[in-house]
């Protein structure tokens, strides 16, 4: 178990070391949100209506930007070999990496999402459900994204390939997450989509480490 803690601490430290990881994702989040009114027009009612869906889509996209570094860097400098040789099973190491990705990217984005919603004119009362959906949905994004990142190891395409692998897998969390926020805004049943989203996120967290470890082992072999 200590191996797990060491890897997790290392990942968290690394994410702050080079370029302030969480801030980068937040910056992307803010920048792309500021482009939305420019693309959709300044009509306040229209923006407010589209805000939950847009915010959720940006959450999904923002999770992509740091995926390329998740395994690639360690693969290139040999750290992944050492991790694979270490006492912790590679599955646990993959879990720690994806969890660190969630802590440093998804969780800050989820906390920032209500601000973005408010900036687009959606009411503040959406904040709790947005944060909750962002946190559990972020689990799904982080772990599925980790699978994509591990699979793309050793290919020459990198980021675009990861996006192509991962984005179709994001279909269920995007539907359930945006659905939960929209249902809450419309006064409909929002618990069902939120529970489905939680189920998806937790199942991804439980199953994806095996896929990640298998893919990483394959790349190292």
């Amino acid at each position: 178990m200590s191996g797990f803690a060491v890897i997790l601490r290392r990942e968290l430290a690394l994410s702050w070391a080079g370029g302030g990881g969480p801030l980068l994702a937040l910056g992307f989040f803010v920048a792309i949100t500021s482009l939305m009114p420019l693309a959709l027009g300044a009509d306040a009612a229209r923006l407010a209506e589209a805000a939950p869906g847009l915010a959720w889509l940006v959450l999904a996209l923002a999770s992509l930007i740091s995926l390329e570094r998740l395994f690639e860097r360690d693969y290139e400098d040999g750290a992944l070999d050492l991790i694979a040789l270490g006492p912790a099973p590679l599955e646990l190491a993959a879990f720690a990496k994806a969890l660190a990705q969630w802590v440093t990217t998804q969780a800050p984005l989820a906390l920032a999402a209500p601000v973005i919603l408010a900036a687009l004119g959606a009411p503040w009362r959406l904040a709790p459900v947005t944060i909750a959906a962002g946190l559990v949905g972020g689990l799904g994004f982080a772990f599925l994204g980790g699978v994509g990142a591990a699979l793309a190891l050793g290919s020459r395409r990198g980021g675009v390939l990861i996006a192509l692998i991962v984005l179709p897998l994001f279909t269920p969390p995007v539907i359930f997450g945006a659905g939960a926020i929209e249902a809450f805004a419309a006064g409909l049943d929002w618990r069902t989509p939120l529970l489905l989203l939680s189920a998806y996120g937790l199942a991804a967290a439980a199953l994806c480490p095996f896929a990640m470890a298998a893919a990483a082992r394959n790349a190292l072999s």
Binding site: L151, G154, R156, R157, I165, L169, T171, L188, A211, N218
Partner: protein, 240 residues
Amino acid sequence: MMIPALANPERFMAFSRWAAPLFGAIAVVLLAAGLVLDFRAPPDYQQGYAVHIMFIHVPAAWMSLFIYACLGGASLLSLVFRHALAQAAARAAAPLGAAVTLLALITGSLWGKPTWGAWWVWGDPRLTSVLVLFLFYLAYLALDASIEDDARAAPATSILALVGLINLPIVHFSVTWWRSLHQGSSVFRAGGPAMPATYLAPLLVMGLAYMAGFGALWLVRIRGEVWRRRALARAVRRAG
């Protein structure tokens, strides 16, 4: 059980040498019969002649899922047993599946225009989930193309195919759920009365024709893959 017997490449090559043309011939005969039955079918009282698209479209949609199941099954065998033939089968199935899925999407769009009045309706869960299925195929093909080393590409693509296989039912379910949330757009035909035999017969015949055609093309492509590997191995031997 057929699969263990065919796991031997020599036996597979001997089997597929006559099975591939046989399936191809069956496919051609069934396709001809299906088309004859199709053109004999009367125009639908609501859709008119547009109903003929169904006989191309619906079997393609069936096959798009069936081929992904084949791809996933072969990938599982490839991953568990590290069997070269299973990997060849998975790899051979992917472009066929992508082509058939694209055919389903295009014919569905052509069918949608006269019956729904739009090329594409986001409100229909099947359209959306078939589109996602097509993206799954694209991801598989892209990953396969981007890793040059065969031995390394095989497990990676197999893992992706299995992840996709687990996700397909979830995607379908979630898209259906999403559609029930967005009740607004309903441009659907009244959820069908049982299909009359004049339509069901050609549909089933066409379904079997697609199935036989896929069998033939799949075997041919697996043979091609086996030959490609043999040529590669021979080139390595000669160079070494």
